[in-house]
């Protein structure tokens, strides 16, 4: 089954609106990473999280280890935020287990 389940699988937003992406984990994990893969295919690391919250510009991410989930909030969405967002959970053997991604389209 899905050890790292992302939702929604796809999302379309108007420019300037806010959204929240979510990852639920069915494995024990100590850290979570969020990545954005842009439409050209480049993967960029957004956050590396231990339990808690980090913020970077219009992005904010929380990892709740007790309830086994992580969220990524996008505020004031811009066209360049379009792409596929992946979360990945680190297992005890340091390997990353990846979600299947959320495809985000920002419309002008």
């Amino acid at each position: 089954g899905d050890q790292v389940k992302q939702s929604p699988s796809a999302l379309s937003l108007q420019e300037g609106t806010n959204s929240a992406l979510r990852c639920n984990f069915s494995i024990a994990t100590t850290t979570v990473q969020w990545f954005l893969q842009n439409p050209r295919g480049s993967l960029m690391n957004l956050f590396y999280l231990v339990p808690g919250t980090k913020e970077n510009g219009r992005l904010k991410s929380t990892f709740n280890s007790k309830e086994s989930y992580s969220t990524l909030h996008i505020r004031d969405a811009q066209l360049e935020d379009s792409g596929t967002y992946f979360c990945a959970a680190e297992e005890s053997n340091y390997q990353l287990i990846w979600g299947s991604g959320t495809k985000l389209i920002i419309k002008p």
Binding site: F35, S42, L43, N45, Y48, Q95, L96, W98, S100
Partner: protein, 114 residues
């Protein structure tokens, strides 16, 4: 600081042909990963190294795939006899243990096997 460099960017093969992918990680990064990403799916780990040692290659199809990192810096991933099911983007990433294992990815090699 230069990022992770991969070459070639694209490759098109007939079934049965061989191909090699090359990766130059970020200088000083001790850990190097090779991922396979089929279209519309997340990356799937094939193999990873710490310095020159293979740490985990359990997901690498060993009959046709091989990977080396002889000096603990650059790495080569080779497919001996490509199949149509190998069509995917091959991503290299590197990380530094002291940097919380944050992964930095190269641009990938997009492989099409006809």
């Amino acid at each position: 600081e230069a990022g992770v460099t991969q070459s070639p960017r694209y490759a098109v093969l007939q079934e049965g042909q061989a191909v090699s992918f090359w990766c130059d990680p970020i200088s000083g990064h001790d850990t190097l990963y090779w991922y396979q990403q089929p279209r519309d799916q997340g990356p799937q780990l094939l193999v990873y190294f710490r310095d020159e040692a293979v740490i985990d290659n359990s997901q690498l199809p060993s009959d046709r795939f091989s990977a080396v990192r002889p000096k603990g810096t650059n790495s080569t991933l080779k497919i001996q006899s490509a199949k149509q099911g190998d069509t995917a983007t091959y991503l290299c990433a590197s990380s530094f243990d002291w940097d919380q294992n944050t992964l930095y990815f190269g641009a990938g090699t997009r492989l099409s096997v006809l």
